[in-house]
Amino acid sequence: MTHPTRRRGPRRRVLTTTVGLAALLVAAGCSTEQEGSSSSSGSSAAEDCINADEAQAEYTASWTSVKEAFGLTDFEPVDETVCQVDGEQWKAEPKQGDSYRIAFAAQGPTNSWGVLSDEALKYHAKELGVDVLYAAANGDATTQVDNIQQLTSQDPDAMVVVPMGDGISGQVKAAVDQDIPVVLCSGLLPDSSGAVSTVTRQYDLLGSAYAEWIAEKLGGKGKVAILSGLAGVPTAEYQKAAAEKTFAKYPDIKIVTTQYTQWSPTVAKTVAQNLIASYPDLDAIWSDSGYGALGVVQAYQEAGKAVPPITGDSINEFIQATEGTDVQYALSTFPPEMSSTCLDTALDLLKGEPVLDKVYVDSPSFTDADGAQYARDDCDGGLLVPSSAPEDLLVDLKMCKAS
C-alpha cells in the first residue's frame, strides 16, 4: 500500500508546524488511542488477496513499458498490492428498467483533458447501451462532494468518480455504504474511501519515471529545477513527491528550485525566464505537464539558449512546437480516454466478472527520439497524443478535423 507511507511524512511535518495549537490538545490527545483505519470496507486486505500473482504481473508491466520507452536501466516499481475483487459481492440486475444506470461524477469541461474524459465515457456508454447520470464538479472538490451525494440519492447501479481531491473520501464511503459500487477513475483516494476499484495511471510511475530519465540523462549529476502544477492539488503534489524521492537517490543531483506553473504555459514561461536568469547552468527541468514544458521551451528559445532536457505529458502542441529542434524530452500521458475503461470496470462489477481493485492503465511513453511521429497536425493542440479515443468522437468534439 502506498498511501499510508506517502501521507505519514507530511502529517508529521504538519504537526510540528502547527505546534502552537497542537500544544493545547496534546495533553488530552495522547491519553487515548487513534481510531484505526478499520473504516475501510470495500477494498480487500492483503491476506485474502485473490489471484495476487496475476494482478501483480499486470501492475509490473505498466512500469516495464515506461522503462523500455525511456530506455531506463534502473527503474523498479514501488511496492503495491493489487488484488482481485470478489466478483459475486457486487453482482446485480439493473435497478430500473433493462439497462444499467451508471452515475458519473466527472471533472467537468474545465480543460480539454476534462472534456475528453467526460465525453469518452459517455461515448462508450452509448456503445454499450448504458444510461449515464452525469454531474460535473468543474474541478472543485467541494462541488464534487455535493455531486456525489446527489448522484447517490438517485440510486444508480454503480458510480464512476473522477476524484477532484481527497476531500470527497467521506462522501464516496457514504455511497459505498449504500451498496453502490464506486469505481475511482483517473485518480486516487485513501483506502478509507472504500472504493471498490481504482482505474488510473499511476502518479508515482509518472513522477519517478520523468525523474529517473533526467537522472540517467545527466549521469546522476547536475542541477535540476522542478516545475509542479498547482500547489495543494493531489495530482500535482503526488507526482512531485515521487520525483523528489527519486532524485534523493542521487546525491549529486541538486534540486535548485521548486516552482508552480498552474499548468499554464504563460505562467511557466515567466517562471522559466526567471530560471534562465538565476540558474544559467541548469542541467534539466522536471515538469509534470506538457503545457509547462511548452512555456519553458519558448522562454529558452527566446533567450537564445539551448533548452535543457525536459519532461511533461505529451500534448500535441508541445510535440509540434519542438518538431525540427534538438530539444530533448521524455513524455508520457495521463490519458483522459481511460474513463471508458472505468465504465467497463463498473459494468464488470455489476455482471459479477473478475475485477482488480487497482487497474493501472498503461499508456504510450516516448522520448524525443521518436516523438515527431506522434504530432497530429489535424488535431487540437491540447490533445494528448497518441490518443486511443475513437476518431469520430474526436471529430465530434472538434478536437480533430475529419479526414
Partner: protein, 326 residues
C-alpha cells in the same frame, strides 16, 4: 422603507410593494419557488426524493454558515473576502489536529471556533481600530490565510473521527444534521440582530457610521462583533466541511467567499450596509444550492453549466437587487 420609492412618485404604489418585497428578502424566494416548481414538473420524483432533498440541504449547510457571517458583516457596511480561506484553514486543521483521535474531537472543534473568532478579531481590529478599508483588509487576509493553510500542508492531510463523519451523515427525517446546525445558527444570528442592542447598533453603524457615532453608538465593538461572528461561523463551517470530507485539504474552501457574497446580495441585502434581511440571505443560499442541484438533475450539457449559472445570477441581481440610494 419609503425612502427609495418616494421620489418615484406616480409609479409608487406597485413599486413600493415590489421594493418592499425585495427588501424583506421575499423576492429571491420567488425565483426559488419558480425553480422548485420547474424541477417538480421536469423531474418530480428525482427532485422530491428524500435523498435528493437531503443533498440540497447538506450542500447548503457550509455555504449557509459562511453566508450568514457575510450577512452580518455586510449589514455593518463591510465585506469579508477572507471567509473562504478561513474555512479552508479551519477544516484542514480540524482533520490534521484530530487525526483520528476521538478524545481530541471536542477540544479541536472548540479550538477551531476560537481560531475563527481570532481571525475575525484580526479582521475587525484592522477595519475598526486601524480604520482600513474592509475590502483590502480581508483580501489581504484571504491571501495570508490560504498561504498559512498551504504551509500547514500542501497535500491532503489528517483524518477526522468517526463521530464527526457520522454526524455529517446523520439525518432527522430527510433533514441532515449539518443543516440543523445551520438552522440553529440562523436562529442565533436572528436573535442577535433583532433582539440585542448590538444588533440594532449594527444596522445603525452600517447605515451611517458617523450618525451612529453621533448618536452615542460605540462603533468599534459593534464592528469587531460583526467580524468575530463571521469568523466564528467560518470556523464552524470549516469543522462541518472537514466532517463531510473526512480529510483535510489545503484548498477546501476556495471560492466560498464569492458564493457567499452572491447569496447575500441576491437576497436583497445592500452592500452599502444597514439594510438587509436574513430571510433574503437564506433564500440566496437556497437558490445557489438549487442551481447546482438542478443542473445535475436536468442533466444539462456540461459546457452550458457556467453559462446558466452566470445568467441566473445576473438575472437575480439585475431584477431583485435593492437600488442604491442616489
Amino acid at each position: 422603507m419609503t425612502s427609495v420609492a418616494a421620489p418615484r412618485g406616480s409609479r409608487a404604489p406597485r413599486l413600493a410593494a415590489f421594493s418592499g418585497l425585495v427588501r424583506r428578502g421575499g423576492a429571491v424566494w420567488v425565483i426559488v419557488l419558480a425553480l422548485v416548481l420547474a424541477l417538480t414538473f421536469a423531474r418530480g420524483t428525482g427532485f422530491w426524493n428524500s435523498g435528493n432533498i437531503a443533498a440540497v440541504l447538506a450542500g447548503a449547510a457550509v455555504l449557509g454558515l459562511v453566508a450568514l457571517g457575510q450577512h452580518v458583516v455586510v449589514l455593518g457596511g463591510g465585506i469579508d473576502l477572507s471567509v473562504g480561506s478561513m474555512v479552508t484553514l479551519t477544516s484542514l486543521l480540524t482533520a490534521v489536529l484530530v487525526d483520528g483521535y476521538p478524545i481530541r474531537t471536542v477540544p479541536v472543534i472548540v479550538a477551531m471556533v476560537v481560531l475563527g473568532a481570532a481571525m475575525g478579531l484580526l479582521n475587525g481590529s484592522l477595519v475598526s481600530v486601524a480604520r482600513l478599508p474592509p475590502f483590502i483588509v480581508t483580501l489581504g487576509m484571504l491571501y495570508l490565510v490560504s498561504g498559512v493553510a498551504l504551509t500547514v500542508s500542501a497535500t491532503p492531510a489528517g483524518r477526522v473521527t468517526a463521530a464527526l463523519t457520522d454526524f455529517s451523515r446523520a439525518t432527522l427525517g430527510p433533514v441532515p444534521a449539518p443543516f440543523l446546525v445551520l438552522v440553529a445558527a440562523v436562529a442565533a444570528v436572528w436573535l442577535l440582530l433583532a433582539r440585542t442592542p448590538w444588533g440594532r447598533h449594527l444596522y445603525a453603524v452600517g447605515g451611517d457610521q458617523h450618525a451612529a457615532r453621533a448618536a452615542g453608538v460605540r462603533v468599534r465593538p459593534v464592528l469587531l462583533g460583526a467580524y468575530v461572528t463571521s469568523g466564528v461561523l467560518a470556523g464552524l463551517a470549516g469543522v462541518l466541511l472537514a466532517a463531510r470530507s473526512a480529510i483535510g485539504s489545503p484548498t477546501a474552501g476556495s471560492g466560498l467567499e464569492l458564493s457567499a457574497i452572491t447569496a447575500v446580495v441576491i437576497g436583497g441585502t445592500s452592500l452599502l450596509g444597514g439594510r438587509g434581511s436574513l430571510l433574503g440571505t437564506v433564500g440566496g443560499v437556497a437558490l445557489l444550492a438549487l442551481i447546482t442541484n438542478a443542473i445535475t438533475l436536468l442533466q444539462l450539457p456540461s459546457t452550458w453549466t457556467d453559462l446558466v449559472r452566470g445568467l441566473i445570477i445576473i438575472a437575480a441581481v439585475a431584477v431583485f437587487v435593492v437600488r442604491r440610494p442616489r
